[in-house]
Structure formats: structure tokens, C-alpha cells
């Protein structure tokens, strides 16, 4: 085996449309990698960099092998395009048959013996004389694989190699790759975790946007290598599995049945309207004459430093602040202080915060935690109905936590607890979802998980999101309205 490959803060541009930014990565010859991540995050681009593609704008890349075996949709498309060009280039008005498969495979073949075996195993023997461009997609894919495998490569890059292969071919290919593990380092781009072969030693996780420690996202047209996970690290591995599940499966926010449905709100009225809202303790004024209206489907970000009254303003809305009775507050059709109960208010709000997580110290099951969102309670004081359990189970499925439905909530990891509390907040499909620093205290992976879930929610429901953060400059995509509070002197 050859040298280590190393990328140091490498930024690589592809066609000006897409950039991989500041990639730090190294591959030693004994490792086999899987590159995975969300759609459009640059997985294929990263693999292509190893094959020498793209333009390095900053940083360094060293140790790239000379002979790379590459199979990818892009390379496949390129080959087919070349073949079609041959046809276009014909000026003789004679239909070109194009290059036959035999030539595609055996011209410049480093290991014709292996190629012959593979042709047979892939069932291409009868097609050898057919024109390459006449083959089906699956057949051209097989030709590509045979070319790469029989080229005696120093590095084998297989981008979604299992896509479009029939069951037999898939098994054959997997078995063949197994025979290569001690001779050729491999990098596989795979979207689905369950396709990961056993020999993979490391996982590189890509994301299209960078999420920094404060939970805000960066630009949307760049790819990043956000996480590198050693397969030996079981915890990280399981979390990544969950993250991919969230990112790559087609998720629908579970519906709510009639028995648990909220009353309809008048769509012409604002969700929230604070007029001259003031919070004061003794002579200290925390919030001074704040006017704020939140219309339906108007996503807001509320920011401000500690002590600027963010939590106070939120609790005026949720009804948790005793001074909501001395202010002019209209929420969800109620002018506060006219005989409504806080439960009539809270039913319209999904709420997630770190302090909620601290308060939620109950040994109840994960399923019950989700169901408790239908009651706005911490824990359950009555038994969940079958239909409520069903909705909760759909959420657990969505979170990739189906296996933990009956586990006690307080035994979950911190990040999983946060995910579950978001599901709890969303289970009733509230008109307003308040996320009070939802990523606070979470590590990279869990931040990714939480944001992936929030993204799903923003995209897939009619819930208005109120995102609360320390810093005004930390922005989340999809939010167009901002309110910044300043600390009173």
C-alpha cells in the first residue's frame, strides 16, 4: 500500500458553483472510509478531490495516489457523454455504433484476467460486443466497476457503488471488495448507513452548512467535512446513524388525530401582540414598553445578551410570567386577564429550552414524554390513549429512537433528551414553536441532530418558529424577522 493522503485546511472549488471549504482530513493506507452526509453536502466532491479533481484555492493536499479507480455517477455520465459526442462528431451521415463494451473494458486494462472473471460474474459476457452507450444504466455501472477494479488502483473510490445493482451483483461486488481490504485502501460514498460494509473503519460526515458552537448556520453553497468518526467509538457511531436517519429519510411530521387536535385559530389575527410590554422588579426595569406582533407563518429570531429580558418576554407570551396580567397582551385570540387559563394559552405553544430539560427530571418513558406534550405537562397524570401512543411512536420512529420507546427519559443522553423534548413540543402541531437556545450545551453531533430536526420542522409543518439566541449575528436559515433586545442600564 502507498502513502497517507492528507488534506490541510484545503478549500477546493468546483465550477464556481460549489466549494468544499477548509477540509482537514487524512487517510492512512490501512483505513477504509465511508463518506456520508446530507444531500448536496459535497460527498461526491470530496471523493473526487481524492481523484485529483477540483481546484485547490487555499490549503494543502498531499499524498494523492497516481492510479485511482473511480466509479461515480459523474464519471459514468462523462463517459456516456463522450460516447455520444463520438456520434455527434460523425459528419458522414453514417450511424456510429460507438465503442463496444469489450474495448471499454480491455483497452489499457492492467489485469485482464481479473476483468474476464468479473465480466462473467457480472453477467456481461453476452454484451461484450454491444456498444457501450446502448447499455442500460445498471449495465454501464457494471462496466465502470470492472474497469476500476481491474486497473490495479492505489486507491479505490466508489461513489454509491451499490445503487442500481441487482441483488446478485450486489452480493458479488461486496464479496469482491472484501478480498481487497488488505491490498487497496477504499473510500466509499454511501447515503445509507445500512449499506455500510463491515470493513469500513472510519466515517466522514459531510454537511452543506457549517454549524458553529452557537448553533447558527453558515453559507448554503459550500460543503464541509463536519465530523470524523472512528468505527470503534460506538456512541458516536450510533449518534451518526441517528443523524443520517434524520437527514436522509423522507420525513413527514406525524399528523395529529381529531381527538388530540387543537382548536382552530382565526388566521387573520396575529399569534402574539404585545403592546408597551413592561417587566419590572421593584424599581428595576427589565423590559421597557416593548411592542411586538408575531403574525402566523412569520418566523422570528429573538436575540440579546444575558439580562436583556429574553426569557421574560417569552414568559409573557407563554403565560409563565406573573406580570403578564399587568400588561396588554393578546395571544392566540385571548386578551390576557379576562378569565382565560394558562392551559388555554399553552396549548397553542410548543416550547423547548435548557431549563425545561432541567425541570423535566422524571423517570417516565420516552413515549410518555412525547405524549405529555399533548397535555403541556411534565410527566403524565393520566394514561396515554392508544391514539396518543401511536402518534408518539411515529415521532420516535422519526427520531430514530423507536427502540427506546419504553426506556426511562432520564437515562437518555443529553442530546437525545433534547430531541425528545422538541418532539414533545411539536407533537400537538402547535401554531407557535418557541426554541429557546435549543443547541445550548450540546456537542457537535447533537447540535447537528437538533438542527436537522428543526430544519425538518420548519420545512414540513405550518408551525411558526420563534428562535431565541444570545447573539443577533447567529442566524438560522428560513427566519426573516429579527428582534434584538438590549440590556437596560
Amino acid at each position: 500500500m502507498g502513502n497517507s493522503i492528507s488534506l490541510k485546511k484545503a478549500t477546493v472549488a468546483f465550477d464556481e458553483r460549489f466549494t468544499l471549504t477548509e477540509i482537514d482530513w487524512s487517510i492512512t493506507p490501512s483505513q477504509h472510509w465511508m463518506i456520508t452526509g446530507s444531500n448536496g453536502s459535497g460527498k461526491s466532491a470530496l471523493a473526487a478531490v481524492l481523484a485529483g479533481m477540483g481546484e485547490i484555492t487555499t490549503g494543502q493536499i498531499s499524498g494523492l495516489p497516481k492510479n485511482v479507480g473511480l466509479v461515480s455517477f459523474e464519471a459514468q455520465a462523462e463517459l456516456i457523454a463522450q460516447e455520444l459526442k463520438k456520434d455527434d462528431a460523425d459528419i458522414m451521415d453514417v450511424i456510429s455504433v460507438g465503442t463496444p463494451v469489450r474495448e471499454m473494458i480491455f483497452d489499457q486494462c492492467a489485469d485482464p484476467e481479473l476483468a474476464t472473471q468479473l465480466v462473467e460474474k457480472f453477467g456481461l459476457s453476452a454484451l461484450l460486443d454491444r456498444a457501450f452507450r446502448k447499455l442500460s444504466t445498471g449495465e454501464t455501472r457494471k462496466v465502470m466497476l470492472i474497469r476500476a477494479l481491474s486497473s490495479k488502483p492505489d486507491l479505490l473510490i466508489l461513489d454509491e457503488p451499490f445503487d442500481g445493482l441487482d441483488v446478485d451483483a450486489l452480493a458479488m461486488l461486496q464479496a469482491h471488495l472484501e478480498t481487497l481490504i488488505s491490498t487497496v485502501p477504499m473510500v466509499l460514498v454511501l447515503n445509507r448507513f445500512d449499506e455500510m460494509p463491515d470493513f469500513i473503519t472510519h466515517v466522514a460526515y459531510m454537511d452543506k452548512t457549517v454549524i458553529d458552537k452557537k448553533g447558527n448556520e453558515g453559507k448554503n453553497d459550500a460543503g464541509h467535512l463536519t465530523l470524523i468518526i472512528d468505527r470503534q467509538d460506538k456512541t458516536a457511531f450510533n449518534e451518526l446513524y441517528q443523524l443520517l436517519h434524520l437527514k436522509t429519510t423522507d420525513l413527514n411530521i406525524p399528523e395529529i388525530d381529531a381527538a388530540n387536535k387543537l382548536p382552530e385559530l382565526d388566521p387573520s389575527q396575529p399569534l402574539v401582540c404585545l403592546k408597551n410590554a413592561t417587566i419590572k422588579y421593584g424599581d428595576t426595569i427589565i423590559v421597557d414598553k416593548l411592542n411586538w406582533t408575531i403574525e402566523p407563518n412569520q418566523h422570528w429570531q429573538l436575540s440579546g445578551p444575558n439580562g436583556s429580558g429574553k426569557t421574560g418576554v417569552l414568559s409573557l407570551i407563554t403565560g409563565d410570567h406573573p406580570q403578564c396580567y399587568t400588561n396588554d397582551i393578546f395571544v392566540f385570540g385571548f386578551q390576557r386577564g379576562n378569565g382565560e387559563s394558562i392551559w388555554q394559552i399553552k396549548q397553542f405553544i410548543g416550547y423547548v429550552s435548557t431549563s425545561l430539560q432541567w425541570e423535566y427530571r422524571v423517570s417516565t418513558s420516552c413515549r410518555n414524554v412525547i405524549v405529555s406534550g399533548l397535555y403541556d405537562s411534565i410527566g403524565m397524570y393520566s394514561k396515554a390513549t392508544d391514539s396518543q401512543k401511536k402518534i408518539a411512536d411515529e415521532w420516535l420512529e422519526l427520531l430514530g429512537m423507536k427502540d427506546r420507546a419504553d426506556s426511562p427519559f432520564n437515562k437518555l443522553s443529553y442530546g437525545d433528551q433534547r430531541l425528545l423534548l422538541i418532539a414533545r413540543a411539536m407533537v400537538k402541531r402547535p401554531p407557535l414553536l418557541i426554541l429557546d437556545e435549543p443547541c445550548l450545551g450540546l456537542d457537535d453531533m447533537n447540535r447537528q441532530l437538533v438542527l436537522a430536526l428543526i430544519e425538518k420542522i420548519c420545512a414540513g409543518s405550518e408551525t411558526t418558529v420563534l428562535y431565541v439566541n444570545h447573539h443577533a449575528e447567529d442566524r438560522i436559515s428560513g427566519i426573516e424577522h429579527y428582534l434584538e433586545l438590549v440590556k437596560k442600564q
Binding site: Y281, G282, G319, D320, P322, Q323, C324, Y325, T326, G339, E340, S341, I342, W343, Q344, E359, V362, S363, T364, S372, Y375, D376, S377, I378, G379, M380, Y381, S382, K383
Partner: protein, 491 residues
């Protein structure tokens, strides 16, 4: 001096009132807070119960304001701050009482007579006066204007918990009662139920009782097992351990946190579960000790119950009130001087199980106290439900106050009435147990049984288990805890 109301009733009526207590199902509250909707609720007093109940009632959509003495408002005392900072309207008795449809008297027992005398003439015709303890009506014989409805709503937890449980969507077990002599419009029960719903109590379980059953059982529980037994037990166990050479810091910690730990097991699964936490030999030991303790202490429990029923207890206590609390304050100072109180808990780690293993005598004392209080109350005509709540159910709450700040915190948290009774119990119980304590060694308090042999006689173990499980407090306990099965998970 006032007339004891209970003593004016014929025996038949006394027994009927004592036997009142029924656990109400949540399905019995379909009207929610309707009976109080649109009514003006004025709370007298803004301490922990007053403020937190008011916050809950307001959050349930009710109209709540606070009335304080003119001086408390003028001087901006803590009660005034509590109410105004939470956005409540605050006014003097003269300003607010005449506007009130319902007046909640949440002042300390001792102030009831002067407060009620002052507000009664100001109250609207046909309004409702609510108490959270029946002492004023039952023991002091306060006569309430005939046109007024008199009810009681008593959450069975400290004020802070009343609020915390409401905020998380629950409530705390609550006792309600109607004073039948003052229910001119027959709306007392509806108002009491609505009030219980307004504080969230209906979700945790409401006990419908009577003023008399509440007072007579509450007094009995608090002065015997709840406060008295824990105080006496703390003093005796500590002194014994130190006498036997156990490190005073360790002894102090074992007791300060031990009551809380062992009664936590009691809360979840009754006396049976508390003893099941011990090894078999230790369980048999604890059982034997508690049987012995029950024989020694039974006359004392009987005396307390007799004095409570006859009114002797309240009479002597009210004499002390009239005498500027000379006894109470003297005894309070005495408690501060006990060795247990003066020895801070040592910086040693004690595991949860070790509190049981090394505190066999404490377990025995709790068992003896709970069972004696329950047996004595039910023998006096108090129904098992009431007796359960006023003995076993509340013991962990009091134990928790000791864990916070020893006996000082316990006596500061409980009412003056409970504190007074606690000292009476302690003074009588200490000498009563003197001989018993002579035979006590560190195997049952401080060190635990030697673990050489964990063997026990089968027949004896079966006998002990059977006796534990068949006690009447266990039978009613399993029923009531079953009602609160979901609560159990979170409290």
C-alpha cells in the same frame, strides 16, 4: 375563652363528622372552576400558601386579589412585595373585603380569631369564607355570620410545591370540606371543588372530609408521628451513637438525612417497602424493636388523641398563646440546645442503602409511630383515609424539612400548633423510652448488624412479613397510592 365547637355536638354527630373522608375521582370535577368564574376572590395573607395558591387560581382564569393589614401595605412588608411584584391588586381589608365574593383566609392559625372578627362585618351578604385549616372553627368555636358559606380547601403540601406541581401540569393532594352549619345556599361543595380545581388539586386527588375530621386527625398526626416522633427519635438516636463512640459528625449525618431516605421508601411502598429495604435479619430486628416501641408508646399516643378529642390540647395551647407563647418559645430554645442540633453533619459519604442498614432503630421508630398514630386515630373514629394522610403520607414531607436544616427547619416550617404539640410529645416520650434505650447498641443504630450470618428462621420471617403486610395502614395505603399511581412517578 372560646367555645369548643366539637364539644357542643352530640356524640352521634361527633362520630359522623370524624368518619367523613372520601377520595374523589377526577371524573367528579367536570365543572372545573365554573363555580368561581367571574367571582371576586380576595386572599388574606400573602405568605407561601397565600401567594402560591393565588398564582394558581389566577392562572386558572380566576379573579384574584390580596388584602393585607394597612400597616403591611404602608411599610411595604414582604407580603406586600410578594403580591405586588406578581402583578396582583393589593388593598386594605376595608377596600377589598366588601367587594369579595370569596375570601380565602390563608393567615397562620393563631391570627384567625382576630382576622376573622375584623373581616366578618365587612363581608358581602351571602359571600364565602374559606379556610385551609379548621382549627378556628372547630377548636376555637368561631361563629360565622349565618348568611356566609364556610368551606375549607387544604393542599397537603408546602406552598412552594403547590405552585411547582401546578406549573408542571399537576397539583398536590388536597382536602376539602364544607362547614355544614354555614352552607345557607348549599353551594359550599361546588365552591370548594372549583377552588381545588383552580389550584390543580383535582389532578392529584381530592379528599372530601369535614372540618372536624381534618382538625382532629391533623393535630394528632403532626404532634405524634410527623414531628414528635422524628424529634424524639433524632435526639435519642444521636445521643446513643455518641455515647457508644460513633463519630458525632457521622451520627449527625445519619440522622439528618436518614429520616428522609427511609421515609422515601415509605412514601413509595408503605411500611412494608420501608422494611423490605432491610436484610432479612435486620428486618426481623426492626420489627421486634417496633413491637416493643408500640407497647411502650401506645399510652402516649392515646393520651395525645384523647387530649385532642376532648379539646384539652387546644385549650392549653391557646392559654400559652394568651401568655405570649412563653412555653412555645422556651421549648424552641431548648431544642436549639440539643447535641444533635448543635453537631453539624460530618463530611462523610453515606450510601442510600447504608441509611437503612445502619438506621434499623430509625426504621423501627417510623414504623411504630406510623402504625400507632393510624391505629389511635381510627380507634377514635377517624376514617382510615384521613388517618393514612395524616400519618404515613405526610411523614416524608416532614423528614425532608429535617434533611434541609435539622429540627430547627422542621419546627420553623410547621405551624405553631404542630410545633407546640411536637414539644409536648417530645417531653413525654424522652423519659418514656429511657429504659428501652439502655439496651440499644450500635448494631441497630450507627453500625448495622454484623454481616457474618444473614440467615433467618423461615417461619419467623414469614410471620413478620405477614404481620407487616396485613396492617390496616398498608391496606388503605395501597388503595390510595394506587389512585395516585401516575403522581408517584414524579413526586
Amino acid at each position: 375563652m372560646s367555645n369548643n365547637y366539637f364539644n357542643t355536638l352530640p356524640l352521634r354527630e361527633q362520630l359522623a363528622q370524624l368518619a367523613k373522608c372520601r377520595f374523589m375521582d377526577i371524573s367528579e370535577f367536570p365543572e372545573g372552576v365554573d363555580a368561581l368564574k367571574g367571582k371576586k376572590i380576595v386572599v388574606i395573607g400573602c405568605g407561601a400558601q397565600g401567594l402560591n395558591q393565588g398564582l394558581n387560581l389566577r392562572d386558572s382564569g380566576l379573579d384574584v386579589s390580596y388584602t393585607l393589614r394597612a400597616a403591611a401595605i404602608a411599610e411595604k412588608r414582604q407580603s406586600w412585595k410578594n403580591a405586588t411584584e406578581n402583578g396582583f391588586v393589593v388593598g386594605t381589608y376595608d377596600e377589598l373585603i366588601p367587594t369579595a365574593d370569596v375570601v380565602l383566609n390563608l393567615t397562620p392559625d393563631k391570627q384567625h380569631t382576630p382576622v376573622v372578627k375584623e373581616i366578618m362585618p365587612l363581608m358581602k351578604k351571602g359571600a364565602c369564607l374559606s379556610y385551609s385549616h379548621g382549627f378556628n372553627i372547630v377548636e376555637e368555636g368561631m361563629q360565622i355570620r349565618e348568611d356566609l358559606t364556610v368551606i375549607m380547601v387544604a393542599p397537603k403540601c408546602p406552598g412552594s410545591e403547590v405552585r411547582a406541581e401546578y406549573v408542571r401540569g399537576f397539583g398536590v393532594p388536597t382536602l376539602i370540606a364544607v362547614h355544614e352549619d354555614n352552607d345557607p345556599k348549599g353551594e359550599g361543595l361546588a365552591l370548594a371543588k372549583a377552588y381545588a380545581v383552580g389550584t390543580g388539586g383535582h389532578k392529584a386527588g381530592v379528599l372530601m372530609s369535614s372540618f372536624i375530621a381534618e382538625v382532629k386527625s391533623d393535630l394528632m398526626g403532626e404532634q405524634t408521628i410527623l414531628c414528635g416522633m422524628l424529634q424524639t427519635g433524632s435526639i435519642l438516636c444521636f445521643d446513643k451513637m455518641v455515647e457508644e463512640g460513633i463519630d458525632a459528625g457521622y451520627a449527625s449525618r445519619l440522622i439528618q438525612y436518614g429520616w428522609e431516605t427511609v421515609t422515601e421508601a415509605l412514601k413509595y411502598g408503605g411500611v412494608t417497602n420501608m422494611l423490605d429495604r432491610l436484610s432479612n435479619p435486620a428486618k426481623i430486628k426492626a420489627f421486634d424493636l417496633s413491637e416493643e416501641l408500640k407497647v411502650i408508646m401506645r399510652p402516649l399516643y392515646n393520651k395525645h388523641q384523647d387530649d385532642i378529642i376532648s379539646g384539652h390540647f387546644s385549650k392549653t395551647m391557646m392559654e400559652d398563646w394568651a401568655n405570649d407563647d412563653v412555653n412555645l418559645l422556651g421549648w424552641r430554645a431548648e431544642t436549639a440546645e440539643t447535641n444533635f442540633e448543635k453537631t453539624p453533619a460530618g463530611d462523610v459519604e453515606i450510601s442510600e442503602q447504608e441509611f437503612f442498614d445502619n438506621g434499623i432503630l430509625m426504621v423501627a421508630m417510623v414504623k411504630a409511630g406510623v402504625e400507632l398514630a393510624f391505629e389511635t386515630m381510627t380507634a377514635a373514629g377517624i376514617i382510615a383515609e384521613s388517618a393514612y394522610y395524616e400519618s404515613l403520607h405526610e411523614t416524608p414531607l416532614i423528614a425532608n424539612t429535617i434533611a434541609r436544616k435539622k429540627l430547627y427547619e422542621m419546627n420553623a416550617t410547621i405551624s405553631d400548633t404542630a410545633e407546640y404539640g411536637c414539644y409536648l410529645y417530645n417531653h413525654a416520650c424522652l423519659p418514656l423510652l429511657a429504659d428501652f434505650m439502655k439496651d440499644i447498641k450500635t448494631d441497630v443504630i450507627g453500625k448495622g448488624l454484623s454481616t457474618d450470618d444473614n440467615g433467618v428462621d423461615n417461619a419467623r420471617l414469614i410471620e413478620v412479613n405477614e404481620a407487616l403486610r396485613s396492617h390496616p395502614v398498608e391496606a388503605i395505603g395501597s388503595v390510595l397510592r394506587g389512585h395516585m399511581a401516575d403522581m408517584k412517578k414524579i413526586v
